[in-house]
Subunit: 160 residues, 3 copies
Amino acid sequence: MSVGSLQGLLKQGMPTGRRVLPFTIRPMHRLSIKTQRKRQILDITDPVEALLRQHHAAAVGVCHLLVLHTTAALTTADLDPGTDLDMLDAFESMIPKLNYRHPHDPGHVPDHILSALIGTSVSLLADRGSLILGTWQRVILVELDGPRTREIAFGFAVTV
Amino acid sequence: MSVGSLQGLLKQGMPTGRRVLPFTIRPMHRLSIKTQRKRQILDITDPVEALLRQHHAAAVGVCHLLVLHTTAALTTADLDPGTDLDMLDAFESMIPKLNYRHPHDPGHVPDHILSALIGTSVSLLADRGSLILGTWQRVILVELDGPRTREIAFGFAVTV
Amino acid sequence: MSVGSLQGLLKQGMPTGRRVLPFTIRPMHRLSIKTQRKRQILDITDPVEALLRQHHAAAVGVCHLLVLHTTAALTTADLDPGTDLDMLDAFESMIPKLNYRHPHDPGHVPDHILSALIGTSVSLLADRGSLILGTWQRVILVELDGPRTREIAFGFAVTV
């Protein structure tokens, strides 16, 4: 979220989720990621490292990410060409087609289940502006009900 | 921790898991959650925030939760009415019915597998007493072999 | 990490993943775990606690682990005899056999999917040299494409 878009909300805090979270003094940042399709895997390694370099370029610590949604997930993965679609096909096929109860749209249930199963939080180690990752390892956002703009909360704790 | 190094602490220590964990000086808290059914999804957002407000009301940081069991899990999820049962049905259906080896009760194997797969730890960002979550996002305990009392270890690290 | 900030460290730096990570001043440790089979579950609780006792024997905090690979995963689990093989059988059976696109070896796709699904990071609470775990709970490395040597990054943040 850009600083500019927040100006008008400074006095009364901004509605985020179900609560009003004032942001004036908190050292907590956000990433906004626009997705393009119903289901999609996006490599967010570069924007995470950009935020890291902007705010914690000299620090060694843990970078905590939480996607603030119930039809999206965060994890790490190989992103050889086509692997994103392979993963989405497998996820789709793994969730059984049952007679779901969900009141306003039972069609969303597989999206919710995959979000809870893959998980929405990831904790990554960071060393002076770079994430510590394997050769082929990327940080990914799994969009399960797009296209939407997804918010990811970002926090950084120093390691000792 | 060696048994020897614990001798002086044994009087006020408490048995937790396979070790004796003294609790007098550690800034680590616990949540005990009673479950009611064999399989159940419980919203633990409120007790987590109660603990947060009690001990870290003024801080910005990361709230780490770990459920100390092998037939339970932690994640975040949408909890529209019925979604909890939808999720449990899907989890049940996803785990194949194989000829499991587990010695004292092969019937527990699907519970263990779901615990390992969904995961037992979650790291949440917190801002002066409130968790930073999406509109519909709740922190959930997935009970896979209840009813039992489940222990969740809670740790809080400051972000910078 | 900017190229500039690394100049002085490049001579003694070591290649890790896709970047050169200097290791002289960073308080970040690694575990190397040798695996023996194509698919295998290894109990890494003892080596994690050994590292913990070596570097953070007096601290209370969070121990962050990230396996630096895309065909391996980290989680916690029960390890009664045979449960490791039960889990591997179930994982194998859960991933659908689809016509995958992955360019250099479609046979690897199930390994990648399980890594992303189970997850590669885990955050554990630690109290003066011991992990806080349940009675039967162990920290496990899930090898999905061994035998290999797997690198696990380790970071420790103090809780308050």
